[in-house]
Each structure stands twice: as structure tokens, then as C-alpha cells.
């Protein structure tokens, strides 16, 4: 705890104090951030990308705190990691978590050229910044004197008050746009209860869908139900679960047949056992007729 406070005091004041803690923390966070960013570009599944992005954002939040911007650090955690990333995950769930990128290149050599362009951009930026004179950190001026939050609030509500008001207009526009874009117009009138009942009767399946099957060794929602005539039906299995079975390479139908065979074997063994036990009283499940 004292280390953390020392660290915040060293870096948090925005001073030029070169504490060993700040340096060690910087390198750890930098390695984490760059590694997670590279992994985000390379990983195929979109959900894993979101997790990697969360790591980068949290590392950057700590870096803001180290650089004397505690307000931005909290906003980063609350707005970015909390809200924006959750929005990403919501949309991912709506669109389908399993949507992985295809590895086929539509443009030939796209990845190679993108990598070359990235290296060129990095060289360009690093050379430009290397030539620029980036001075050492200045000690906080009077603007920061009353505290980071007060200083930012003073700036926002004096110098930057017009951009701040424009920002509110932008946010309202964005909210309205999201509502308009995500709204789905109803093309057909909503079916009434009478229409739903009629549709159900004409479909031929008046009764509810059959529940999943329960077998000798398998009992799960992905097992198709067993109908009275001995056949199975896939109408008891949700399409989402069936899709998952296909993705995992499982075959519930095969385990059903295996299960039915096992059940027949168990039944045959039981009958043999019963026959061997003969007329022993109280042994068999169904008492023989000669006992009465």
C-alpha cells in the first residue's frame, strides 16, 4: 500500500521524479499492452479480441494514473472498459459469438502489404517523434494546483465550454441514431391470440414439443426424445443446441442408438437373471403366477 502511494506521489504529481517503481511499472505495463495489442490483431475469435482490448485499456488506465491524470484513469476504466467494451460484447452476442474471421485472403498479399505498411508507418512516426524535442515533464503549474479534477473542471467549463456543449449535441445525435438504426420496422401486423391458436391447430402439432429424452446412460437436453413408436425426434432439441453439437463433433443420435442397445442388453440380462432365480419368492420384480 505504501509502495502504491509512493508511486502515485512520484508519478501522479506529474513531476520529473524518476522513481524505480515508476520505471518498473512502466515496462511491465508496456509489455502487457503491446503484447495484448499484438494478440488482439492475431487472435481469430472476436471475443478473445475483446478480452485483449480490455487488457490494453486497463494497462493504459494505470499509465494515465502514473502520469498525473487520475480523472482520465477512472474515466478510462468506467467508460471504456466498462461501457464501450460491454457494448462490443453485447453486439458480439447478438451477431454470434462463434463468428471467427475467415483465413482466406480476398486480396492477394494483403497481410504482407499491411505488415509492410505498418512497419513504414512505425518508422515514419518514430523518426518524426525522435527528431521532435520532447522535453522532460514539467512540474504541475497553477492549473493543476487545486487538484486534477478541479483543474479539468475549470478548463472544461471556461476555455472549452463551447466544445463541451457541442459534445452533448453529438451524444444526443448518436443516441438517436443508434435507436433509429437498431429499430426494426414491423412489416406484418402482430398476430393476435386467436390467429396464433388457429395456426397451431392447422400446423398439426397441438400439443407442446416433446421434452428431451432420458436414457440409460445419457440424460441431457441435446438428446432427442423417444416417441411411442420407438423412433427419435429432433423436435425436442433446440436448434442452437443441435448447432453446438455439430460444432463440437458430437452425435446425439448415435449415442441414442447405443443407449437403446445398452438398455436392451440390460433388459435381456435382467430377464436371464430372473429366469435363473426361478421361482424364488420375492426375488424377481414381477412375481411368477405359480406362486399365487
Amino acid at each position: 500500500m505504501s509502495h502504491a502511494s509512493h508511486l502515485l506521489a512520484a508519478g501522479g504529481g506529474g513531476t520529473n521524479l524518476d522513481s524505480i517503481y515508476v520505471q518498473v511499472l512502466y515496462w511491465i505495463l508496456a509489455i502487457f499492452a503491446v503484447g495484448a495489442a499484438i494478440a488482439m490483431v492475431c487472435v481469430r475469435r472476436a471475443v478473445h479480441c475483446a478480452v485483449m482490448l480490455a487488457i490494453v485499456m486497463l494497462a493504459l488506465a494505470v499509465m494515465y494514473a502514473m502520469q498525473g491524470a487520475p480523472f482520465l484513469a477512472f474515466v478510462q476504466v468506467i467508460v471504456y472498459t466498462g461501457a464501450v467494451l460491454m457494448l462490443f460484447l453485447f453486439v458480439l452476442m447478438l451477431i454470434g459469438v462463434s463468428s471467427a474471421d475467415s483465413l482466406v485472403e480476398t486480396i492477394r498479399g494483403q497481410r504482407l502489404w499491411a505488415g509492410i505498411a505498418g512497419i513504414f508507418l512505425a518508422v515514419l512516426l518514430i523518426l518524426g517523434i525522435g527528431h521532435a524535442a520532447i522535453g522532460s515533464a514539467n512540474p504541475a503549474t497553477a492549473a493543476n494546483g487545486a487538484g486534477n479534477l478541479t483543474g479539468i473542471a475549470t478548463l472544461i467549463f471556461t476555455t472549452y465550454v463551447f466544445p463541451f456543449e457541442v459534445t452533448s449535441a453529438l451524444l444526443i445525435t448518436a443516441a438517436l441514431a443508434a435507436m433509429v438504426l437498431a429499430h426494426r420496422e414491423r412489416t406484418a401486423p402482430k398476430p393476435t391470440q386467436r390467429e396464433l391458436a388457429r395456426r397451431r391447430v392447422t400446423s398439426g402439432h397441438v400439443a407442446p414439443e416433446p421434452p428431451p429424452g432420458v436414457y440409460a446412460t445419457h440424460d441431457a437436453v441435446d438428446m432427442p426424445a423417444l416417441l411411442p413408436d420407438g423412433s427419435t425426434t429432433d423436435r425436442s432439441v433446440s436448434p442452437a443446441i443441435a448447432q453446438r453439437d455439430i460444432e463440437l463433433g458430437r452425435e446425439p443420435i448415435r449415442s441414442v442408438t447405443a443407449d437403446l442397445a445398452a438398455e436392451a442388453r440390460i433388459e435381456a440380462a435382467r430377464q436371464v437373471e430372473e429366469a435363473a432365480a426361478g421361482g424364488a419368492p420375492g426375488k424377481g420384480r414381477a412375481p411368477g403366477k405359480d406362486e399365487r
Binding site: 515508476v22 520505471q23 512502466y26 508496456a30 503491446v34 495489442a37 488482439m40 490483431v41 472476436a46 479480441c49 475483446a50 485499456m57 493504459l60 499509465m63 494515465y64 502520469q67 491524470a69 480523472f71 482520465l72 478510462q76 467508460v79 471504456y80 464501450v84 457494448l87 462490443f88 453486439v91 458480439l92 447478438l94 451477431i95 454470434g96 474471421d101 475467415s102 494483403q110 499491411a114 505498411a117 505498418g118 508507418l121 512516426l125 518514430i126 517523434i129 520532447i134 522535453g135 522532460s136 515533464a137 514539467n138 512540474p139 504541475a140 503549474t141 493543476n144 486534477n148 479539468i152 478548463l155 472544461i156 472549452y160 453529438l170 445525435t173 448518436a174 441514431a177 438504426l181 437498431a182
Partner: protein, 99 residues
């Protein structure tokens, strides 16, 4: 720690995000890479704010965050509209204006 360290880290993150935008096909992942680039810019803004010893850079970073949030909201809504129309989030499939 000199602000130059943070600026160089911001450059590296920005470039990685840019390469991601060029390489990836899933529109959501492209959005995430854009977010990474915006975050890198924010890091540079905060570093420069510390270099100059005032808070203007932090205020600009704050505005960048607000604009990024608005952009994400609208972008993801557009993405959902596209997904409803064509059942795909891949940028390769939205090619009606290509020929």
C-alpha cells in the same frame, strides 16, 4: 520517466491498431482496432499534457473519449443493421457498390 517513453509506446500501439484495421475482416474487430488507435492517441495526449505541465491535453483526451463512445454506438448500430440485412459481419460481404 520522460514523456517520450509514453509517446513511443503510443506510436507502437497506434501502428498495431492500424495494421489490425488493414488485416482483419470482422467489422467488430476492425472497430476494436480503431478503439486501440484512439486509446494510443489519448496516451500521447496525456504524455504531452504532462510535458507542458498543463491540463489541456487531458481535456482533449477526455473529448476524444466522448467522441469515441459516440462513434462506437453509431458504428455498432450500423453493423447490426448490416448484419440483419445480410447475415454476416464480414466487411468482404458488403460489396454491393464494388462493380
Amino acid at each position: 520517466m520522460s514523456p517520450a517513453y509514453y509517446v513511443f509506446l503510443a506510436v507502437i500501439l497506434f501502428v498495431i491498431g492500424g495494421v489490425g484495421v488493414l488485416v482483419r475482416r470482422n467489422a467488430i474487430v476492425i472497430f476494436m482496432c480503431v478503439e486501440l488507435m484512439l486509446n494510443a492517441c489519448n496516451l500521447a495526449f496525456v504524455a504531452f499534457a504532462r510535458m507542458h505541465g498543463n491540463l489541456d491535453g487531458q481535456v482533449v483526451a477526455f473529448f476524444v473519449m466522448v467522441v469515441a463512445a459516440a462513434e462506437v454506438v453509431v458504428g455498432l448500430a450500423i453493423l447490426m443493421a448490416i448484419y440483419r440485412a445480410r447475415k454476416s459481419a464480414s466487411v468482404d460481404d458488403a460489396n454491393l457498390l464494388k462493380y
